[in-house]
């Protein structure tokens, strides 16, 4: 298989003699309690990985139900209000319980301390607390679901959410409030760790770009999430006590809710995508055997995205009666965000140029990310333009746009990262051919699902309706067919990754010949990560350093 596509840099130890290290973080302690009460960032990452996978498949089931309803123009599968509950639960679960914690809480949690040469995050107990808060938030979301669901949409738009709907808004809002604190604590932990826990020699500009991306995302988590929290508190108070802070009949302003909500929820988009961009930087560099082109530019573009990301929220409200002048300013700022994102895409492209590219699974997902994120990002510029936005907003064009960024971008990056670091996390390789098949299936399924939605939206099919005019059926059938393929693409990794836990080939310390500190220690790592504090004496992505180091090791052994 690999010969057909090209060479591979994969180098595994001799399987006849290789074995998983005797002592590692997985077998350091035994029993369920040793996991539930752990302070080890690696174990907490695994707890997160299991929980977000669980919620991903629940959210995915709702996506499947939505697509099934839209297979025919008639409302034949479910009633309108049930359909509203489907897309609300899909949105809430996928955004707050999957996308926001996806890369940071799993890969970030696992890797940031190791990449910085530290033994753990700064606050291990707060890290564990953040997982428990996540689980409480998740349980409450499931409770809202089981008790009868919520139908406000994930945006909790007032006065719909405060006056007109009588579903479990408060339960769901509480769930998100609590899950929000989980995200705040993760971000806080990362920022403090990055500032205070770097090993000797690890200067800011020697940090892997994965860490830079997480730093920027953490700033957004820490500054944005509290504003969502207060917005949800106000919604709950308005529902409970009938006070009128968002109710126009009592003098309140529903737009104020929009301002507060999107002040978090737009930056939240960057909370979701930035860590994914960090993964892509690592993967692209490793599989083209080159230092990331324009390291500093890529690092600062993460921070720039975080900064600009705070000043674009009003573009969600262009048709809601905001002042034309402020809309002009926000339109301009929205387009400015495209600049740092483009800097990243161009720098990755230049990294590939003249690199020794190989096509392992993480790289296939990374290529998927680059293409799909570019389309998602550029259609975002369409939507940032005032005139276009009035035509396209609240149509399937929006749906397609953010699914290209979130699913095409972030989920691809998440899967790239999970495959890339799977040998580090578990000590075993996933099956290569099957995983390539999954990557290609995901890519095809994704495009089949969401490309037709751009056309549907442009033709004027509104989002959030369970029925549509018959002339839209062909494109909707294509989209539903694509969703089926996509579903298979996501089921496959879960199955073969679980399989590989027992039967996968032993990976060894550094199967990808990568330069990061995490690859210089055993797989799976020790609980304390490093036997002695490492000293960083070279730049990130220094493949010459790695070659020299490997040579030296061989000499020593010989």
């Amino acid at each position: 298989m690999s010969a057909a596509i090209g060479n591979t840099i994969l180098s595994l130890p001799d399987q006849a003699t290789a074995q998983i290290p005797k002592r590692n973080y997985i077998n350091n302690e035994h029993g369920l309690l040793s996991w539930l009460l752990t302070g080890d960032h690696k174990r907490i990452a695994i707890l997160y990985l299991i929980s977000i996978t669980f919620f991903f498949f629940i959210g995915g089931a709702f996506a499947g139900l939505i697509r099934l309803e839209l297979l025919t123009p008639q409302p034949d599968l479910v009633a309108a209000d049930t359909y509203n509950k489907f897309f609300t639960m899909h949105g809430i679960i996928m955004i707050f319980l999957f996308l926001v914690p996806s890369v940071p809480a799993t890969l970030g949690n696992f890797l940031i301390p190791i990449m910085l040469g530290a033994k753990d995050l700064a606050f291990p107990k707060i890290n564990l607390l953040s997982w428990y808060l996540y689980m409480i938030g998740g349980t409450l979301t499931l409770a809202a679901l089981v008790l009868g669901g919520v139908d406000t949409g994930w945006t909790f738009t007032t006065p719909l959410s405060t006056h007109y709907l009588n579903t479990h808004v408060i339960t769901a809002a509480t769930a998100i409030f609590i899950a929000g604190f989980s995200s705040i604590f993760t971000g806080l932990n990362f920022i403090v760790t990055i500032h205070r826990m770097r090993c000797p020699g690890m200067t800011w500009f020697r940090m892997p770009l994965f860490v830079w991306a997480h730093y920027a995302a953490s700033l957004l988590m820490v500054l944005g999430t509290p504003v969502l929290a207060i917005a949800l508190v106000l919604v709950a108070l308005e529902r409970l006590f009938g006070i009128g802070v968002f109710d126009p009949t009592k003098g309140g302003d529903p737009l104020l809710f929009q301002h507060l909500f999107w002040f978090y929820s737009h930056p939240a988009v960057y909370i979701m995508i930035l860590p994914g961009m960090g993964v892509i930087s690592e993967v692209i560099s490793t599989f083209s055997r080159k230092r990331v082109f324009g390291y500093t530019a890529v690092a600062f573009s993460s921070v720039a995205i975080a900064l600009f990301g705070f000043f674009v929220w009003e573009h969600h409200m262009f048709i809601m009666g905001v002042s034309n002048y402020s809309a002009l300013v926000f339109s301009l700022l929205t387009m400015l965000v495209a600049v740092p994102s483009a800097i990243k895409i161009f720098n990755w492209a230049f990294t590939l140029q003249k690199g020794s590219i190989t096509f392992e699974t993480p790289m296939l997902y990374a290529f998927g990310f680059m293409g799909l994120f570019t389309i998602g990002g550029l259609t975002g510029v369409f939507l940032g333009s005032l005139g276009m936005d009035i035509h396209l907003t609240e149509t399937y064009f929006i749906v397609a746009h953010f699914h290209f960024v979130m699913v095409g971008g972030m989920l691809m990056a998440f899967l790239a990262g999970v495959h890339f670091w799977w040998p580090k996390m578990t000590g075993r390789m996933y099956p290569e051919s099957l995983s390539k098949l999954a990557a290609v299936t995901t890519f095809i399924g994704f495009n089949l699902t969401f490309l037709p939605q751009f056309i549907l939206g442009y033709l004027g099919m509104p989002r959030r309706y369970h029925a549509y005019p018959p002339e839209f059926q062909v494109l909707n059938v294509l989209s539903t067919a694509g969703a089926t393929v996509l579903g298979i693409g996501y089921m496959l990794p879960m199955l073969y990754l679980a399989w590989s836990l027992k039967y996968g080939a032993i990976a060894g310390d550094n199967p990808w010949q990568a330069t990061g500190l995490e690859w210089q220690i055993q797989s799976p790592p020790l609980t304390e990560n490093f036997l002695e504090t490492p000293i960083m004496d070279h730049e990130a992505y220094d493949y010459e350093w790695l070659t020299n180091k490997t040579k030296k090791e061989v000499t020593t052994v010989g």
């Binding site: 826990m197 929290a229 009128g244």
Partner: protein
């Protein structure tokens, strides 16, 4: 750091024999040095306070918006708050913050007795503040100024009947006083909630201080709690002028 009271960690001394390296019992294994742990802790606290600023910021933003929209209602409604009680509470809270600051100093110079007394005084002033606040809330309850179904605008529509020297508001504008009172209760209520959490923590810290936990050079919890307590003070120092003072004008 004073090294006489602390015991060096055996393996750390081996690894870092060249540094004069001291490890306190509270030192967590994943920090290289105690200094690093202390810096990380206080940095984390500052970041947490930043999230608190953003949390309160949402309500300040709402206040800004509605005050601009419904100025007459805000002016009349804020005149119903008692400046003397607010001023007393401000003084009480500043005293509480002062005691906390002395407490941090006492912990740093390892005066256990002073620390315990100061923590008790901090708690005492905090409780007085909450008591005065509860009295103010009770008055609003009696006047039907708590937003919701029992809210009454009659005092603002017909102030003369209540013996209040104010210009009467149109019924429509008088309705907007409810937004003022909602913001008043939401902001001072959220502030009071932070104080209650703080007082619970103070009981715990006082007990630990009494036990002598903070008399051997380990003062991070006291310092970080001090930051939190001062933050709560500062929030009040913004709330008091915004809610009580800003619309004051001499009565005719």
């Amino acid at each position: 750091m004073d090294s006489t009271l602390a015991t060096p960690h055996p393996h750390e001394t081996v690894l870092h024999a060249e540094h004069e390296h001291v490890v306190l019992p509270q030192h967590r294994h994943h920090f290289e040095t105690e200094e690093q742990q202390r810096e990380a802790g206080s940095f984390g606290m500052w970041l947490f306070l930043l999230t608190e600023i953003m949390f309160f910021g949402g309500m300040f933003f709402a206040y800004l918006l509605y005050r601009n929209w419904y100025y007459p209602a805000f002016a009349v409604a804020s005149n119903q708050l008692s400046v003397p009680l607010g001023a007393v509470n401000t003084a009480v809270l500043i005293s509480s913050g002062f005691c906390m600051a002395i407490g941090v100093w006492a912990a740093e110079v390892r005066k256990r007795g002073v620390l315990v007394v100061m923590l008790i005084l901090t708690t005492f002033f905090g409780l007085i503040f909450l008591g005065v606040k509860a009295d103010e809330y009770h008055e609003k309850y009696e006047l039907h100024h708590i937003p919701g179904s029992s809210f009454s605008t009659s005092m603002f529509v017909n102030p003369a009947a209540y013996g209040i020297k104010e210009e009467p508001l149109s019924p429509d504008m008088a309705q907007k006083t409810q937004i003022f009172f909602f913001l008043y209760f939401a902001m001072t209520g959220m502030h009071a909630l932070h104080m209650i959490i703080g007082i619970v923590l103070l009981f715990w810290l006082t007990w630990r201080a009494h036990r002598g936990d903070f008399s051997a050079g380990y003062v991070a919890p006291i310092e970080n709690f001090g930051l939190y307590w001062h933050f709560v003070d500062i929030v009040w120092l913004f709330l008091f002028p915004l809610l009580y003072l800003i619309n004051r004008h001499p009565l005719h």
